[in-house]
């Protein structure tokens, strides 16, 4: 079982975390949906420091509407962005 499944609405945690992070700043606090469950991988944020990265973390492809990310986005409202985000960076939308 994974915490989220395809289609779930999610929000990227707006947390600051020092060191090696795989969630880009521009997505923090942004809302989107689970586009696919990509699998389980050793946590790269630990691997970067020579740790095992175990337990493996679930990786999701998360979809976003471009206008939900950028104010004044230049293109049509239907444009999208997909990013691969680990489970510990996601929360159900609406939760604080």
């Amino acid at each position: 079982m994974t915490a989220f499944t395809r289609g779930d609405r999610v929000r990227v945690r707006p947390a600051g975390k020092p060191g090696h992070v795989r969630t880009p700043d521009y997505l923090k606090g942004r809302s989107g949906w689970i586009s696919s469950v990509l699998g389980h991988f050793p946590n790269p944020e630990d691997l970067a420091y020579g740790l095992s990265g175990i337990p493996a973390r679930t990786l999701y492809r998360v979809g976003f509407r471009q206008p939900d990310i950028w104010t004044g986005y230049e293109g049509p409202a239907g444009d999208r962005l997909y990013a691969d985000v680990y489970e510990h960076w996601l929360e159900p939308e609406g939760e604080r």
């Binding site: 795989r22 969630t23 880009p24 521009y26 990509l38 699998g39 991988f41 790269p44 990786l59 492809r61 471009q66 990310i69 950028w70 986005y73 230049e74 293109g75 049509p76 239907g78 444009d79 999208r80 962005l81 997909y82 990013a83 691969d84 985000v85 680990y86």
Partner: protein
């Protein structure tokens, strides 16, 4: 075209980055972490990977619908079918351009790219400018590469932030019905595999 002297690029060799790499290489070899032979093997490995591998995958997908399905569902297995070796890739996924969706690949955090299949990414792919602008104004970036998707086509940007490496499967251009796989592969540029451009029939003459 130059007159074939690869050494014309010597000034780059003197850049501070090159000097730093040489110094690190010396240290790693000196301390027994790596051998010169291992470094050479790795360079040869990288040099043997080129965008032509991606073009082969695309041309086969255009001519063989069953292969296309396999490429989209398991790109690593599909690559092996064509004799390519994606073993050292993390995950490898091909995303399909459709009449209603155009895909563009970027890595905003560093320079993730399907190197085991396509080799080293172009320098512009690693630049801060491309990495910051491709997510924020993808249409402006593509316009600068000479490509402009219609307003009613959705632009889907893939930011490869983690363990997946992405390649675009472009659409087969019109007027290429009579072309064989090799001729089709010659239309598929590295830029098209990243998605900043698309293959065009007109490029056949240029190749």
């Amino acid at each position: 075209m130059s007159d074939g002297h690869p050494h014309e690029e010597v000034p780059q060799e003197r850049s501070p980055y090159a000097a730093r790499i040489r110094a690190m290489e010396d240290l790693l070899v000196g301390k027994g972490v790596l051998t010169e032979a291992e470094i050479q093997d790795r360079i040869e490995y990288m040099e043997s990977r080129t965008p032509a591998n991606g073009a082969k995958l695309v041309a086969r997908a255009w001519t063989d619908p069953a292969f296309k399905e396999r490429l989209l569902s398991n790109a690593k297995a599909a690559a092996r079918e064509l004799g390519l070796d994606p073993t050292h890739e993390a995950e490898f996924i091909a995303v399909e351009n459709k009449p209603e969706v155009h895909n563009l690949i970027v890595c905003t955090l560093c320079s993730c790219y399907p190197r085991a299949v396509l080799g080293r990414p172009p320098d512009w792919y690693k630049s801060f400018e491309y990495r910051s602008r491709a997510v924020r104004e993808p249409r402006a970036v593509m316009r600068e590469f000479g490509f402009e998707p219609e307003e009613n086509v959705e632009v889907a940007v893939f930011d490869s932030t983690a363990d997946v490496r992405y390649m675009v499967l472009p659409m087969r251009p019109e007027r290429t019905e009579g072309m064989d796989e090799e001729e089709l592969a010659a239309l598929v540029t590295r830029d098209a595999l990243v998605g900043v451009s698309v293959p065009r029939f007109e490029d056949a003459a240029a190749n």
